[in-house]
């Protein structure tokens, strides 16, 4: 056993009642080129033994900086003041060798993107063994390997012996994150800090990883700091919650109390912005489908293939769907489900390998180049990444006017007028026309993307995860703008997302996809609340809801359903 090297209850027995981690009056400033940014301002947080503490906040709240300060992993441009105590040791005052002996042995850390956080050219076994070797140098090679196998197993990794020789890229995202966790807990630390550790994962995998955290806590009594922006995750794992905003702690409370009676206005705002999986109060506007008029988008038995000849694989197979004018259809699935491929094929970016795509009654495959070009005017696309959805070298005016330029619509002055109009429609205002993307926030960028999509008054809009990279409060406002415009203009919309709660707010029909195929279709009220298919049931069960009491009940149900 790896834990044998350290005597539990030895020298630290006297400090049993101290918090594991005690941060007091922590401030972090970043100094660069004559500018000082206050990232964290007099933050005090105590983490008790065996406790799971959630540190929540939106981007720029200082939650990650706080954790990095505790690990002393901030870049040299950071100025740190205040005290950070791990048990009896003052981390803020320790020298580099002392800190190194603590990192990985008394504090473990798990990061967001396990693909990038693991070294790509070393085996999993080597990387886990390194942690053990660094902090327990006395072990023999065989003991170390035994330790690695043991900790991989504790991290819930199947076939640990086979994993020793595998490289990170050979594992799935969930397994990679388990390897990260194995590394963090290999030396049985008193504290593990998980920085957005489940953000990059699918909900079903996220649920498993959160389960693993709880299990490890039960078994080893370690404390856990979970840094997240996701209120569902907070409700699922946390005992206590610290809410941060703009570098300051605004509220600390036990999890039930925080969700039941949030004291601070910001906490209330944050909670109300979280989309909730809810039965539609009133069914969204019924599709206006006059008899005989074709659907705006009709996909029949669509298959899309990728890869070179001989090694082609089907990303999408046998997908059919229909969207009428004014209707929003939600397409939901996990990564690799093929949902984005369907969306891109619908606007003609990928040719179908089989099946047909019709827009406004015209089969895309049968159209001439010119007819296709004319039809494309009626279609628009909004994509996920605010950082790359607009060309960084163009002003918003140029980007938003581009669809008109491509299609030769209007002249310079009329184009300008139209740009100003759509900027007003998305509530940015014409004043933004001269700005460059890097001058805008994520939410503003996505609004600008929507403006560009609307500039030619499309009949069909494909929105691929348009809000999933945004903070919840920003997401809420962007969705509101989007919904208003959809009602006003009445375009048909294929809304692609992984977020069941968002879909329940918007769509009049939901399509669940998995591994390139449609699993289930129906009204959100029935699909999300009375799922017929096993996969949908698992998906719905895995999505954490922002309510600790309700989430505890759901979790018990889920675990019970997984055990035969």
């Amino acid at each position: 056993m790896t834990g044998g090297a350290r005597e539990v209850g030895g020298p630290r027995a006297g400090s049993e009642r101290l918090p594991v981690l005690d941060i007091a009056g922590l401030s972090v400033d970043f100094v660069g080129r004559g500018q000082v940014t206050h990232a964290v301002r007099s933050v005090s947080i105590a983490v008790e033994r065996g406790e799971i503490l959630a540190l929540v906040g939106e981007s720029g709240s200082g939650k990650s900086v706080t954790a990095m300060a505790a690990m002393r992993l901030l870049p040299p441009t950071a100025r740190v003041s205040g005290s950070i105590r791990l048990g009896e040791v003052d981390l803020a005052a320790s020298g580099a060798p002392d800190i190194r002996s603590i990192r990985g042995s008394r504090i473990g850390m798990v990061f967001q993107d396990p693909m990038r956080a693991l070294n790509p050219v070393f085996t999993v076994g080597w990387q886990v063994a390194e942690t053990i070797r660094l902090h327990q140098p006395g072990l023999s090679r065989a003991e170390r390997t035994a330790g690695v196998l043991d900790v991989l197993e504790r991290a819930g990794i199947p076939e640990p012996r086979r994993r020793l020789e595998q490289y990170p890229h050979e594992l799935s995202g969930g397994l990679r994150q388990r390897v990260m966790i194995a590394m963090a807990v290999a030396n049985e630390p008193e504290l593990v800090i998980a920085d957005e550790a489940t953000t990059a994962l699918d909900v079903t995998v996220q649920a498993e990883i959160l389960e693993l955290f709880r299990e490890l806590r039960e078994r080893t009594g370690m404390a856990l700091v979970v840094i997240t922006h996701n209120m569902g995750v907070v409700a699922d794992v946390a005992d206590r919650v610290v809410v941060m905003r703009a570098g300051e702690v605004v509220e600390q409370a036990p999890v039930e109390a925080l969700f039941a009676q949030p004291e601070h206005a910001y906490t209330r705002e944050l909670l109300s912005a979280v989309p909730r999986l809810s039965r539609p109060r009133a069914t969204p506007a019924e599709p206006v489908r006059a008899e005989g008029r074709p659907a705006v988008l009709e996909i029949r038995d669509l298959a899309v293939e990728f890869g070179p000849r001989g090694r082609r694989f089907r990303a999408v197979d046998g997908v059919s769907l229909q969207i009428a004018a004014g209707q929003v259809v939600g397409l939901v699935g996990e990564s690799g489900s093929g949902k984005s491929t369907v969306g891109r094929a619908a606007v003609g970016l990928y040719p179908p390998a089989a099946g047909s795509i019709s827009v406004l009654g015209h089969d895309l495959a049968r159209l001439s180049r010119r007819e296709l070009q004319r039809l494309r005017r009626s279609c628009a696309l909004v994509l996920q990444d605010p950082a790359s959805s607009l060309d960084p070298r163009m002003t918003l005016r140029q980007s938003i006017a581009e669809p008109m330029a491509i299609n030769g619509v209007g002249r310079r002055s009329s184009r300008e007028r139209r740009v100003a109009e759509v900027l007003d429609m998305v509530r940015l205002g014409a004043g933004f026309a001269g700005r460059y993307p890097h001058e805008l926030s994520g939410g503003q960028l996505q609004r600008a993307s929507i403006a560009r999509a609307l500039v030619l008054e499309p009949r069909l809009l494909v929105a691929d995860e348009p809000t999933s990279a945004l903070d919840v409060s920003v997401q809420a406002s962007v969705l509101e703008v989007f919904l208003d415009l959809q009602r006003e203009i009445g375009f048909a919309c294929l809304f692609i997302t992984h977020d069941l709660a968002v879909v329940s707010m918007l769509a009049s029909e939901v399509i669940i996809m998995s591994q390139g195929r449609v699993v289930e279709t129906g009204a959100p009220g029935s699909v999300l609340f009375e799922p017929r298919e096993e996969y949908t049931r698992r998906l719905v069960g895995a999505a954490p809801v922002p309510d600790p009491v309700e989430q505890r009940r759901r979790r018990r149900e889920r675990i019970a359903s997984l055990r035969p």
Binding site: L73, V121, L134
Partner: protein, 317 residues
């Protein structure tokens, strides 16, 4: 992995064929056509006609290309009328010597460049980094023949420690027996490479230091030195191997200059003399062989990279 090898080898084969097309076309771009180019400017019309007939130069271009390819496949690179020797026998004699010199100066360059680049990255933006980076850049900016001159003046004239000329042996072992004569050619050839590669290693290490896996290593308690020398360097080296493949043409180009300065009996000197005498069969034969060597070298470098980089290896399995 098998599929990758086949794919990459097929690409290389296409490039080799294209190279033969280029050398074939060069031969026909010679002033007065291949016959005049080969026989020299003093050849008479009748001589040329006879020569064309004898060598099939009166046939159509595609036909001629075909017979050119067939000849190449039989190892026939033509004959040097100036040296009265077949080009292939000249190359068999000279190629190993050039490979020896190039390999040794590249080895020396890498041996210094890798540790230097890593050291610079570790001491980035400090005096030592600035001084060594500037020196490397000056080395890169110095024309090889100028550098050779300076080295000869310093180490052969002012302090006569080393001979100013390469040994003239016929066999490799005789060259190695007079190793002191190889020192200046090796060093001269190594400087440019050293400068280029230390710059590459330095920036590659710096780029890698910004990667997430470095933060993970630090969070595990790995020391800064180990982060750089083990975690980062292993990543940098994989791309260095591929870069070495790309760098081969530069290495061979450098060989021409170094060999002609030090009178080293390799392909470069052969080429240089042939250029002076407009000995086209030799010129084109050397271009072909060196280009094919480059293609094969880059192929080897790519395969080597695939072998040591688990991502490439895995993605293509």
């Amino acid at each position: 992995m098998g599929r990758f090898v086949v794919h990459r080898a097929a690409q290389a084969a296409v490039v080799v064929v294209l190279v033969t097309v280029v050398t074939f076309l060069l031969l026909h771009a010679l002033p007065g056509g291949p016959a005049r180019g080969i026989l020299g400017l003093k050849a008479t019309r009748i001589q040329i006609e006879q020569f064309d007939k004898a060598n099939g130069f009166d046939e159509s271009l595609p036909q001629q290309y075909w017979s050119y390819l067939v000849r190449l496949l039989h190892g026939n690179l033509g004959t040097s009328y100036k040296l009265n020797q077949s080009v292939s026998s000249l190359l068999v004699e000279r190629v190993p010597k050039t490979l020896l010199l190039t390999a040794m100066s590249t080895a020396v360059a890498l041996f210094v460049a890798v540790p230097l680049g890593v050291w610079q990255a570790l001491h980035r933006h400090r005096v030592g980094d600035h001084v060594t980076s500037s020196l490397a850049l000056i080395g890169y900016a110095t024309p090889t023949f100028f550098l050779a001159l300076v080295l000869v003046i310093v180490f052969a004239e002012k302090w006569p420690l080393l001979p100013p000329e390469a040994p003239q042996g016929t066999s490799i072992s005789s060259l190695l027996a007079h190793f002191s004569g190889l020192v200046l050619p090796i060093v001269t050839g190594a400087v440019t490479t050293l400068a280029a590669f230390s710059r590459y290693v330095r920036s590659s290490v710096l780029d890698n230091l910004a990667e997430d896996y470095v933060r993970t290593a630090r969070a595990k308690g790995v020391s800064e030195r180990r982060v750089v020398w083990i975690h980062v360097l292993r990543n940098s080296l994989t791309s260095l191997v591929a870069l070495l493949g790309y760098y081969l043409p530069v290495l061979f180009g450098g060989a021409v200059v170094v060999e002609s300065i030090y009178n080293y009996p390799g392909v470069g000197l052969l080429f240089w003399n042939a250029a002076q005498q407009s000995d086209y069969p030799v010129l084109l034969g050397v271009v072909l062989v060196i280009s094919v060597a480059t293609v094969v070298g880059s192929l080897a470098a790519d395969l080597a990279q695939a072998a040591i980089d688990p991502r490439v290896r895995g993605a293509l399995r």
